[in-house]
Amino acid sequence: MGTRFEVVLWGGDTPRLRACAEAALERVAELDRRYSRFRPDSVLSFLNDHAGERAVGVDGDTFDLFAACARVWRESGGAFDPTVGPLMRAWGFHGEPGDTAAAAACVGMDGVLLDQAGRTVRFTRAGVSLDLGGIAKGQALDEAAAIVREAGVVCGLLHGGTSTVVAIGAPPGEPGWVVEVRGSPYRVAVRDRAMSVSEPSGRVVERDGRRLGHVLDPRSGAPVDGASLACVVGESAMETDAWSTALLVLGARPQRMPGQLTTLLPQQGGAWSVEGPDERLFWRSDAAERAGQESP
């Protein structure tokens, strides 16, 4: 996943906590080996090489991950799309630019056939290539957190690349793990929740004298000026990871977005909107000591 994962656990038995953190990080490494598109021995590389020729059987966890991809793709109207890789390459974000129109024709989760009964994956369109960069980090954190919880740990924080966080319980005496949403005036007190933040940072390419950010709209096949930042809080890091990516493209919360997710998005004129059931967890850090705001 090309990023740093960290685990902070609180409790009384240090050797056991260390073992829990090691098991969690080992699981992250295992999932990276499985879903990295850079590793020739990953399940993902195997699928990208063979699912165009035949239906490839996958394990239950991998199938569920692809099913989640398809669900968010549908609910976001295609704004989240793990098949966007060829388009990224064609626009020059991953090497030399190529034919963007031809690449756009390969994009779309509707070119990936998921057979629930046979638990197989097949590409029904030529040129389809999966890249789980927008969701695999969240899934890895969910699984890592499950390992930690199953071991009986009740207080901890796990993050991947500081952009996706899973909070287990809260530090003693605190309402939650306080996370600052950089690029916004907000802080969030997360407790037994996951949270993801996406920004259109990273590599920029120039086309026809224009500087283009790395957010591509899979629906139009072109770079988009969506949101300058998208933050999502929910129960599953896999969901928040995928949805923060989708919202960056969409710029606004879509109607079909699951109601249990809470979003922080910039509005016109420097305003911000917080919407969802966990709204109370957000507060403006620039407000004087959270004056007038309910404690999270």
Partner: protein, 412 residues
């Protein structure tokens, strides 16, 4: 490269070592596709069991029919990851009920291998057993005896012998390219506690068997056995003596099993293997180095390099070699079938293994079962390497010297 270029290169590299990356021959690293479908059972769904399940799922013609583990969580996770697999808490029930499971892979804690291997062999199953085969000399010998008395395939999971990089390096080692062994060293460096969080503190000892001096073979046995065997295989010889020592450098959590060790293995020819392993530092990772009078080889499981002495004869393949900057030296990359790959513009591809070393070991086992291919690493090789690991650990634990009686390695 023409003759003048080659002379220039050799002149430039005189006084320095030339690094040569050992790339697997395409044929050696071919994917596993069984001619006949086969149903496999996996006994032990912990860390290694999970890795095994992942590799088996990449192979064509392999169905995971059954998974066995005494821990319910691990078993559920394993079954969930394997389409159509049936879960068992007891391996005997699995062997009784699933006659269609022709081959079993044993990936339980080391000290539990013996009973399972013997039961599987008695039930007429083909067996792949992780190494070390067992935690005592007697158990290793018992497994080897049972395997000899069985008509099925028994494959010891010494992965080096199946590793395409190591196989290719072996061909160089057996040729004049390396020539006479001078010295050998290996290491396994990682940074973790070797602890597993048990679901219930009462089961801590069961889950943390590697930290239980009664059954653990320590770093020398658990890590070293795989690595020692590379030298056994290359030299065609086993050590006659082990000596070593160890200490706790990082994980002072009440454990008795060392987190850092060193040991030496002496061979009858006079050549010596120096081994170091730690759980306190990742530096350098895991590798084996063989120094020869013509060249040295550095083998790191997914990659391998050869460092030629400047006075070593020029090999024919160097004509096709790809020059490469390697650390402080100007090196040349060795690419098997270089002419063919160069014609395809694929010289740079294939650096490193396309699959994990475990994949190739399991693949060799399944080819032996389904196609009758010769067993790459049988019970005798597994037992010998495991006994060396056991005795090396004994030397480390006692801080002394242990003679390795060749009679022990002949079986019994």
């Amino acid at each position: 490269m023409n003759e003048t270029d080659r002379r220039t290169f050799m002149k430039q590299s005189a006084g320095a070592m030339a690094a040569v990356a050992l790339l697997p021959e395409l044929g050696l690293a071919r994917p596993v596709r069984l001619l006949e479908p086969m149903t496999v059972g996996v006994i032990g769904a912990g860390r290694q069991g999970r890795a095994i399940l992942g590799e088996l799922q990449k192979m064509e013609g392999v169905a995971i029919g059954a998974i066995c583990d005494v821990d319910e969580r691990r078993l559920d996770a394993g079954v969930r990851r394997s389409q159509g697999a049936e879960g068992f808490a007891d391996y005997r029930a699995m062997l009784d009920k699933r006659a269609d499971v022709k081959a079993v892979v044993i990936a339980t804690p080391t000290h539990l291998h013996r009973d399972i291997a013997l039961a599987a062999l008695a039930a007429g199953r083909h067996v792949y057993c992780e190494t070390p085969l067992a935690h005592t000399v007697e158990d290793c010998q018992a497994i080897a005896r049972a395997a000899r008395g069985s008509s099925g395939v028994f494959h010891s999971g010494l992965q080096g012998r199946s590793n395409p990089v190591y196989k290719l390096a072996w061909t160089f080692f057996r040729s004049e390219a390396v020539r006479d062994p001078v010295a050998m060293r290996a290491q396994s460096n990682r940074k973790n506690s070797w602890r597993t969080p048990a679901p219930d503190p009462a089961r801590d000892r069961e889950f943390n068997w590697r930290l239980d001096p009664a059954v653990s073979l320590g770093l020398a046995g658990e890590q070293g056995t795989q690595q020692f065997d590379v030298f056994h295989w290359y030299l065609g010889a086993y050590p006659v003596r082990a000596h070593g020592g160890g200490s706790i450098r990082l994980h002072a959590d009440g454990r008795e099993v060392h987190d850092t060790i060193h040991c030496g293995l002496d061979f009858e020819s006079g050549v010596h293997l120096h081994y170091e392993a730690t759980l306190a530092s990742t530096y350098g990772g895991e590798y084996e180095v063989l120094h020869g009078t013509n060249a040295s080889m550095w083998l790191a499981w997914t990659h391998g390099w050869m460092f030629k002495e400047s006075d070593a004869p020029t090999q024919g393949w160097e004509v096709y070699a790809n020059r490469q900057r390697f650390h402080n030296d100007q090196g040349i990359t060795l690419i098997a079938e270089a002419t063919k790959l160069a014609a395809q513009g694929k010289l740079q591809e294939g650096i490193g293994l396309p699959n994990s070393p475990l994949y190739y070991a399991l693949g060799d086992f399944l080819r032996s079962v389904s196609e009758g291919a010769p067993v790459v690493c049988g019970a005798d090789e597994g037992a010998r390497a495991s006994i060396v690991g056991i005795l090396a650990n004994r030397a480390v634990v006692t801080g002394g010297m242990v003679e390795i009686d060749p009679a022990l390695l002949r079986g019994g």
